[in-house]
């Protein structure tokens, strides 16, 4: 399909439409008519540029030959699930990370292995939480509990991948659902607590020194260990976060290598900025089915000016992901694939990722990651039951107190807020 046709087919889709409307509002009526033409122009230029420089590669999709060839090899898949529990007076944390190892072509009972590699059940409000240390003065407790939860989720997923790679030395490829390397700086502000000794040990698989129990050094250590694992590890990102880190990085890299004149670099970056389209959106019309960009290193911890002072030395040496986008089929948007720099058998792994993604032809995402996602997911009925149980305990304690005010407060807190539509005055 030609680029122009591809744009025509995408034009009615949500993101394109939203962008078109936004651009149209700011640029005036002239662009309303010219949007398709201009984006087409950008994509056309980008396509010619990328292909002329050998930056587009193609993974072969021939399932009838590919799958029988994988017979006997083992592939691992890792994903985490977080319990969504919202409780008054508590900050529960429920995370579990599951793994799925499968050996295609194996007809024995050993073909598949499902395992919960790692789990955390904790209350961040507890006097002595199991995950993070509490400072000596309780008032100094770190307040941004969303960050604490994120930190626990990010590190536990990658720790589970490490545990799996250690346990199963026979893995050919290991895929993790989500980015392989996340920005670490947001978890390093002053006061961000360290992990407890037990939590750090279970994450890393060995005792961790006091100073190294903080998220930033511990996450780095785990990533570095994982980089050395026998199986190449890939992160596959289902929903792209937006922005154009890869394309901008690509232009910059080529400019720095002397392959792109200054004026072209500036014009290219300006064009990308002008239409405010993300990597995935642009590459959706640039790439054809099975194509991916030549992986490029993207500095994940940038910009360095936002690094917390305490950890800048550590962040400086963080591994960076080798990033690409793979378009699995003509009808679905490309997804991001990350691996460590210097990863072996990259092309072979991309072929596997494409083959597993093509098993979901409509959705276009590696089916085995969908499997492990469903396996690790904390079901909503479980989360609800926990919430209901917690509320029941709270209410019972309030009624045991004989304090009428406390009881009323508990009821209000647990039932509906006074601003609920339910309390609106009736006619």
């Amino acid at each position: 399909m030609e680029i122009q046709d591809r744009i025509e087919s995408k034009i009615t889709q949500g993101d394109f439409l939203a962008n078109m409307l936004r651009v149209a509002r700011s640029e005036g009526p002239r662009l309303q008519h010219a949007f398709v033409e201009h984006v087409g122009n950008l994509a056309e230029k980008l396509s010619v540029f990328l292909r002329a420089n050998g930056r587009v590669q193609k993974a072969a999709y021939n399932p009838a030959e590919f799958w029988p060839r994988q017979k006997g090899r083992a592939f691992g898949f890792v994903d985490g699930g977080v319990a969504a529990i919202d409780l008054p007076g508590a900050s529960p944390l429920g995370i579990r990370v599951g793994s799925y190892v499968v050996r295609p072509g194996d007809e024995s009972g050993e073909r598949e292995e499902f395992k919960i590699e790692f789990s955390i059940v904790d209350d961040l409000y507890a006097e002595e939480p199991l995950t993070f240390d509490v400072p000596e003065d309780i008032e100094d407790r770190y307040d941004d509990r969303a960050k604490l939860r994120d930190a626990a989720r990010i590190i536990s997923e990658i720790a589970a991948a490490l545990a799996l790679s250690r346990r199963r030395q026979d893995l050919g490829v290991l895929l993790v659902h989500g980015p392989l390397i996340n920005p670490a700086a947001p978890y390093g502000p002053p006061g961000f607590p360290h992990f407890t000794a037990e939590a750090a040990e279970s994450l890393f698989g060995a005792a961790v020194a006091r100073d190294e129990r903080h998220f930033i050094p511990l996450y780095r250590q785990i990533l570095e260990q994982l980089k050395e694992a026998s199986a190449p590890v890939f992160g596959v990102v289902e929903r792209d976060g937006g922005g154009r880190p890869l394309l901008e990085r690509l232009i910059l890299t080529m400019y720095q290598a002397g392959d792109l004149p200054e004026a072209e670099k500036r014009a290219g970056l300006a064009l990308l900025r002008k239409y405010d389209l993300s990597d995935a959106q642009i590459l959706d019309v640039v790439l054809e089915a099975g194509e991916y960009l030549t992986p490029t290193t993207v500095p994940r911890q940038e910009p360095s000016n936002k690094w917390p002072k305490d950890w800048d030395e550590n962040l400086k040496v963080y591994p960076n992901p080798l990033t690409t986008f793979l378009k699995p089929s003509e009808t679905v948007r490309p997804f991001r694939v990350e691996t460590f720099e210097g990863a072996r058998n990259h092309e072979e792994a991309m072929t596997l990722i494409l083959a597993t993604a093509r098993l979901l032809p409509g959705y276009g995402f590696p089916v085995a990651l969908d499997i492990v996602d469903k396996f690790a997911k904390v079901p909503s009925w479980l989360s609800k039951e926990i919430g209901a149980g917690h509320k029941a305990v709270l209410l019972r304690k309030a009624f045991e107190s004989d304090d009428r005010k406390l009881q009323e407060y508990a009821i209000k807190m647990l039932s509906v807020s006074s601003r609920d539509w339910f309390f609106r005055p009736k006619a």
Partner: protein, 607 residues
């Protein structure tokens, strides 16, 4: 530790909302199947405001299997690319099985010898463990320990050959049983099994067999318990002074409804016609017809001299002719029946010994006797004749039991192809005298020990009143939606899921329910191959057609009716002409000549 608490017997965990009727549980792979009996331990409140554990018994009525890790999209790609799932990274091992259980009742946890089922009055506990009970526990539940109660062994639980299933014999012989299945479902096999079990008890049995399905009992009578007698009867109607009413019965069942005047005239000619014992009903009716004709002639002559009270003048020509027509109709039916009898006896004389049907009014003992199986072979008779025979025999036997004459013991009647004898109103009941008889027997029979076993392949065509009087049912494979719905409507305790599995049964597999069992059971009926008829049933029609020698048959029959006629000119000319005609491939001229001459002669006479 008992079996109910033994974790090795655990097959699943109760999930979701439970009730006192049913619950669902997640089943471990390959640990149970539809129809299996399962148990759970659950606390039930008692009268003393406390609670104790009880075993909740249930039957798995459906199992849903779901692989949440296998998206439909993936199936599409596998099909498109012709891939084996096992060669890819897709998962096959994480199916979950959601089984639905119909609760049968609860029993005491510590009952030792006998297990009494009570209705469940408190729901099963969610998250309770579901147990696969050992055979001994199920046997106890099914009442196997009640050794003193006579039973009829029918087979084993479906999928559990280690647990026998028996029917309560007394409930079958007094409360009636219906066996329903489509063709090939195994209804005759099931009926044969139950009859054999009844024979084992020496119970008298009367079988109305329109297809010869039960002639195997006669062929293999030596294998039956000692002292068992199998009698084969062909229908025959005879009159005597004692049972003069047989003719009026025949007229009532086979003929048209008579007016009062026609009745009077009929009674008059019966009174005038002398009966000698053992006269065939057809001969007697012929005499009646002649008498009626005489009367008709007299009326025609307007004989004024005869002024007696019962003079023909009292009856109009219309009345007389109407009675004559009715009698002629019955006579034709009887003649046809006698002709059939002759053919039947001739055809089967080498393998079977048929007896003339005894008079059921006068000699019921010859039909119903301890350790005797009486088979009325009705193949070849028209519908009205078959129905009349069933009606007259059953009527007479029932009368003997109902009048408490003590002449015959209680007995079981088996009616095969019951839709022909007890059709529903929609099917038309005009020419089915057996319908009213069976209705009477089935509603009152339980008091007099005249149990019925009704067998049919089209339940929807059966009379609903009769079927609802059956207290036990054995339903095998049924596919027709009308039949399934009808069965559901007459069987109170057949659940929707039970009705749905009827079409999935293989031959001999079915569900037995009603008073003959403690609760509905899926059963595999034991097949008594030894008692199948080797002569009738599975004829190889393809082989017969292939080996059919048409010319030979034609040749054999040629001249059967024309041999006595005057020789044709062709025959005169050549004495060998007949021989030529008997050749396998006769010429056109030879085939057409003789009849044409004859017919032309008749035509000339007419002109």
């Amino acid at each position: 530790m008992t079996w109910i608490t033994n974790s090795e017997n655990m097959i699943g965990t109760v999930v979701g909302n439970t009730s006192t009727d049913s619950y669902k549980f997640i089943l471990r792979s390959f640990r149970a199947k539809v129809g299996d009996i399962v148990a759970t331990l659950s606390a039930i409140p008692d009268d003393n405001k406390s609670h104790g554990n009880a075993i909740i018994w249930g039957r798995i009525v459906s199992i849903d299997r779901h692989n949440p890790f296998f998206p439909a999209e993936a199936a599409q790609e596998l099909a498109e690319q012709n891939l084996r799932l096992i060669d890819t990274v897709l998962s096959t091992s994480r199916d979950y099985l959601n089984a639905e259980v119909l609760i049968l009742g609860s029993s005491d946890e510590d009952s030792t010898s006998q297990m009494d089922l009570s209705p469940l009055t408190y729901p099963v506990q969610p998250a309770a463990r579901v147990i696969n009970p050992p055979a001994s526990a199920i046997k106890k539940l099914l009442g196997a320990s009640e050794d003193n109660v006579p039973k009829l062994h029918v087979g084993s639980l479906l999928g559990r050959s280690d647990v026998d299933v028996s029917l309560a014999a007394n409930k079958v012989v007094s409360r009636h049983l219906a066996i329903l299945a489509m063709t090939g479902g195994g209804k005759t096999v099931a009926a044969r099994r139950i009859i054999l079990a009844l024979i084992g008890h020496g119970y008298p049995i009367v079988i109305f067999d329109p297809h010869g399905d039960y002639l195997g009992f006669y062929e293999n009578r030596a294998k039956l318990p000692p002292g068992t007698d199998v009698k084969l009867f062909y229908p025959m109607m005879k009159v005597s002074e004692e049972n003069i009413t047989v003719v009026s019965d025949l007229l009532a069942k086979m003929g048209r409804k008579m007016t009062d005047a026609q009745h009077d005239f009929f009674n008059k000619i019966v009174m005038e016609t002398k009966i000698s014992d053992g006269t065939k009903a057809s001969d007697y009716i012929l005499e009646l017809i002649q008498r009626a004709e005489n009367t008709a002639a007299k009326i025609a002559r307007k004989d004024k001299e005869d002024d007696a009270e019962d003079s023909p003048k009292k009856f109009g020509a219309t009345t007389v002719n109407a009675v004559k027509r009715s009698l002629s109709f019955v006579l034709n039916a009887l003649k046809q029946m006698e002709q059939n009898n002759k053919v039947l006896c001739e055809r089967l004389k080498d393998d079977y010994q048929f007896h003339e049907m005894p008079d059921p009014k006068r000699d019921p003992e010859d039909i119903v006797r301890k350790k005797q199986v009486s088979i009325f072979y009705l193949a070849g008779y028209d519908h009205l004749t078959q129905s009349t025979i069933v009606s007259m025999v059953l009527d007479a036997l029932f009368s003997h039991r109902a009048a408490l004459t003590n002449r015959i013991p209680p007995f079981q009647t088996v009616i095969e192809e019951a839709h022909n004898f007890i059709p529903s109103r929609q099917e038309g009941t005009d020419e089915t005298p057996s319908l009213m008889t069976v209705r009477k027997v089935i509603t009152e029979g339980r008091k007099f020990g005249t149990g019925l076993m009704i067998i049919s392949q089209r339940p929807a065509r059966l009379d609903e009143t009769i079927l609802t009087q059956c207290n036990s049912f054995l339903v095998l494979r049924l596919v027709n939606p009308k039949d399934k719905n009808f069965v559901r409507s007459v069987m109170e305790n057949l659940s929707e899921s039970d009705a749905n599995i009827l079409q999935t049964f293989g031959p001999g597999q079915g569900i037995v329910s009603g008073q003959a069992v403690r609760f509905p059971l899926l059963v595999k009926v034991h097949h008594d191959k030894n008692f199948e008829s080797s002569k009738i049933g599975d004829e190889d029609f393809l082989k017969a057609a292939a080996s059919w020698n048409e010319s030979g048959t034609r040749a054999r029959n040629r001249g059967a009716f024309t041999a006595a006629a005057a020789p044709t000119p062709a025959a005169k000319a050549s004495p060998d002409a007949n021989k030529k005609e008997q050749q396998p491939a006769p010429s056109k001229a030879a085939r057409s000549d003789p009849p044409s001459l004859k017919f032309s002669a008749v035509a000339k006479r007419k002109r």
